[in-house]
Subunit: 190 residues, 2 copies
């Protein structure tokens, strides 16, 4: 298997400045290096000329740091799109709902996607689940995604790392292959 | 709010005999009473004449207990469809992919769905996520869904109850309202 011959598409999901707003999202996040891993993937994808799709979330909630009127809507510098790279704007968690992402993948054409970004259990999981269910060969890069602390139905604290690990366990083998940046880069050796 | 005036649709997901096959799914499951709670919802839905959709999974894996050739493909007796009740067959986790479920909901017409069935973190979560992202008002009934034991990326055991609770926490308020059978029944008082 070669991700190069399959023209694997890199989907960078919601790596936006607003996700750093602690007052809205809380301080409890795992994988602080996720963005750097996503940037390493992006560099390799660019050098190989493989398809890249930047996905950004446009919240319909005017108070959200991801509302299009806010500075937080911008994609982080570390993975900033270059001129000409497609940027897809979505309003819900799944990058396949209300967008033309599936058509764009067919135009490449490719049946393989590699997902990185935020957050593991919300937008990454939703997009990975749909990608897998739509028949795409789907990879989720475990060290290039991250989650936030949460609470269970009784208000009990759920740690970001636990949310991340259980979300990945739910995806693994059912919807996607969960692997890490080093492994993905090894599949891109020329 | 009244679920009656909204013509809320009950979606019973993958409550199939094959899910009891321990050799395939393992013995570690939480909420052993989930099917009975789903049956209580079904009874009320029938008595009120509200829309009901039975969803069943037709696995493409010939070894799966949910392959259409197997006894396990049958819906469990406790929630067995009556003649005339729609039964929707799906091949993937989300009940909205490869089916006409969304069209059928529009024909009712209704914008509200109540989800029960198996499993919390796979087919229920995937269907709830898509329902919410498609703009439907979505309820997931916490005591009428259940999960199985799992393993994290390092092979560490993850208990069914933990998979269930973290899956519900990821859905809650982001995609759906997570509540219990008693609360749903209280919203159906005539």
């Amino acid at each position: 298997m070669s991700l190069i011959s399959e023209k694997a598409a890199l989907l960078l999901i919601d790596i936006q400045k607003g996700l750093d707003e602690v007052a809205f999202y809380g301080a409890g996040r795992n994988n602080p290096g996720a963005e750097q891993q996503a940037a390493a993937l992006l560099d390799r994808w660019r050098s190989l000329g493989l398809p890249i799709f930047h996905i950004r979330h446009s919240s319909q909630n005017p108070d959200s740091p991801l509302h299009a009127s806010k500075n937080g809507f911008s994609i982080k510098e570390v993975v900033k799109p270059l001129n000409g790279e497609p940027v897809i704007t979505k309003n819900v968690n799944s990058a396949f709902i209300g967008t033309n992402l599936l058509e764009l993948l067919k135009q490449v054409p490719t049946q393989t996607v590699v997902l990185a970004g935020l957050t593991t259990n919300h937008c990454v999981s939703s997009t990975a689940r749909m990608a897998g269910n739509l028949g795409l060969k789907t990879f989720v890069v475990s060290d290039a995604v991250a989650a936030f602390d949460n609470r269970d139905l009784n208000g009990k604290h759920l740690d970001a790392e636990l949310m991340h690990q259980t979300a990945l366990a739910s995806i693994q083998e059912e919807f996607a292959m969960v692997t890490d940046t080093d492994h993905i880069l090894s599949l891109l050796k020329t």
